[in-house]
């Protein structure tokens, strides 16, 4: 069962997978609390536009995707704060536009067409050694921000006006959360793909929500279920030759439905 770990690329994929699972699981807590699932989907699809721009300009696709995703995330935040359209409408416009831009640019070049599938659905072959360093940096930064400001982020998610009255910097923290959301999405792209990463930003926390009776419990279950889904999903990808994003998300969903059925069963009147 562990023979796949004899290969360098599989070891890199496993390390990347653990980092991605940790980032997504903790961030998913806030995505569920703030009902930001559509925001996550919007930013992840927009990242493809950044990847495409990186490929054709010679800039690292992940670095370009990061800049592009943060710009889109901040635009969503800015529009929903001040604009005359709702956040959902803003995402509904930016999401397909930026993704279409990415597909158009990549499709124009035969060289990059092969890469498109990997960026869309993830591949355990895609993680390079230099990607790992970037991932370590992103995971360290994201987890540090979320740990440091956890209580304030919960407060602004539930009652921003009361948080503002308590002198919590609501707007700054909101943009910080959007930034780490963009960073997490970019960190996950190679392994999970832009189409499926949004699932990892919801499903682990939903599994925690239906299983736990406290926020800490929800967070712990979210992390454990994400780690199981990613590690087992990579192994499944190895033995079935399916895209790693698909196997990871299918396992995460299976864990959610098992937890959901168990919670319904345990709360049913006896």
């Amino acid at each position: 069962m562990t023979d796949w770990l004899a290969y360098d690329f599989a070891q890199r994929a496993l390390v990347a997978g653990v980092l991605v699972a940790l980032m997504c699981a903790v961030l998913a807590f806030f995505v569920v609390l703030r009902r930001m699932a559509f925001v996550g989907a919007g930013i992840s699809h927009a990242a493809l536009g950044g990847v495409a721009l990186g490929l054709v300009t010679g800039v690292s696709p992940l670095v370009a995707a990061m800049a592009f995703s943060i710009a889109v995330a901040w635009s969503i935040g800015w529009i929903s704060e001040r604009g005359r359209i709702t956040e959902e409408t803003a995402i509904g416009i930016l999401f397909p536009t930026t993704m279409a831009l990415g597909i158009a640019i990549i499709s124009l070049s035969a060289t990059y067409r092969q890469d498109l599938m990997a960026y869309l659905f993830g591949s355990m072959l895609a993680v390079r050694r230099t990607d790992l360093w970037l991932l370590f940096g992103l995971a360290g930064g994201t987890l540090a921000v979320l740990a440091l400001f956890f209580k304030e982020l919960v407060f602004i998610s539930i009652d921003p006006d009361a948080a503002r009255a308590a002198k919590v910097p609501v707007t700054a923290l909101r943009y910080l959360l959007l930034t780490v959301l963009a960073a997490t999405i970019v960190a996950s792209i190679k392994l999970v793909g832009v189409v499926l990463v949004s699932a990892l930003l919801v499903i682990p926390a939903a599994t925690g929500q239906v299983s736990a009776r406290s926020m800490t419990g929800m967070l712990v279950i979210s992390i454990i279920s994400a780690l199981i889904a990613v590690v087992a999903g990579l192994w499944l990808s190895w033995i079935t030759n399916l895209p790693s994003g698909a196997t990871i998300v299918l396992l995460a969903s299976a864990l959610f439905f098992a937890a959901f059925v168990a919670s319904v069963h345990s709360s049913a009147p006896r």
């Binding site: 407060f155 921003p160 006006d161 948080a163 009255a165 929500q209 926020m215």
Partner: protein, 254 residues
């Protein structure tokens, strides 16, 4: 030297999309008073509170909290909204909600200390809900949730409490309980309260200062004076039969 007002609006104008929501609003509230900001729906009550919270800035004029711009005052401000929305089934406990009231005092990025937990529990005790501390917030009734939000505000040991339609959606008994609790808390500590509400009868019965606004201040003074002011009828466009002496319709929400 005169005492600094807890709340001061000085010729405040606020426009949104070219429409004036507030037009030259001026009033002040001395520390220790229970003021009611009343007016019909759309009169600008919530806008006035948002200006005090610092989430919006006046188009013209000045808003001051204890003599300083909102957010720059040394005094602690507590805020009680109409309700807070927690996703269904989210495992947020009552104690965790109340502890949020301490976050302003704990400081950014710092962990709650034992004293913070102790103060939060005391605040829950004051609103009579200590026994529900470990219950999920979402499972409480509307009246209980409002009490938890009072406890949250009290946990911050505030100098000023801002309340935005705090009893909307509550039944008359729960409304009365809520305001009685506010009055008790005000007697026990040097607290200033400003409650925005369109529920004239309930809030005016408990406040000692009433400010009637409809984009601009129409009347301000004692509850008796404002409720008997001829401008009240114009503001709410009451049918003539409702313009009765205050004592004739006590207990009824207008």
């Amino acid at each position: 030297m005169s005492e600094t007002a807890a709340v001061a609006f000085e010729d405040v104008w606020f426009s949104y999309d070219g429409t004036n929501i507030l037009e030259g609003v001026s009033f002040d509230i001395r520390p220790g008073r229970f003021a009611a900001l009343i007016g019909p729906n759309g009169a600008g009550k919530t806008t006035a509170l948002r200006l005090l919270l610092g989430s919006m800035r006046p188009t013209r004029g000045r808003v001051r909290l204890f003599g300083a711009p909102p957010g720059n005052q040394d005094e602690v401000i507590g805020y009680i909204p109409q309700r807070i929305t927690v996703p269904r089934g989210f495992p947020l406990t009552v104690r965790e909600v109340v502890l949020m009231g301490r976050y302003g005092r704990i400081g950014l990025g710092r962990r709650p200390r034992p004293r913070d937990h102790e103060v939060a529990l005391q605040a829950l005790e004051r609103v009579g809900l200590r026994h529900l501390g470990n219950s999920p917030f979402g499972t409480l009734s509307g009246g209980q949730q409002q009490r938890v939000l009072i406890a949250r505000a009290l946990a911050g040991e505030p100098h000023l409490l801002l309340l935005d339609e705090p009893t909307a959606g509550l039944d008359p008994a729960a409304r009365s309980d809520f305001y009685n609790l506010c009055c008790t808390l005000q007697r026990e500590s040097p607290l200033t309260l400003l409650a925005a509400s369109h529920d004239i009868e309930a809030v005016a019965h408990h406040a000692d200062l009433v400010i009637l606004i409809n984009h601009t201040v129409l009347a301000a003074g004692s509850p008796h004076d404002v409720l008997h002011s001829p401008v009240l009828q114009d503001a709410y466009r009451f049918p003539e039969r409702h313009h009765e002496p205050h004592h004739a319709h006590q207990g009824a929400a207008l």
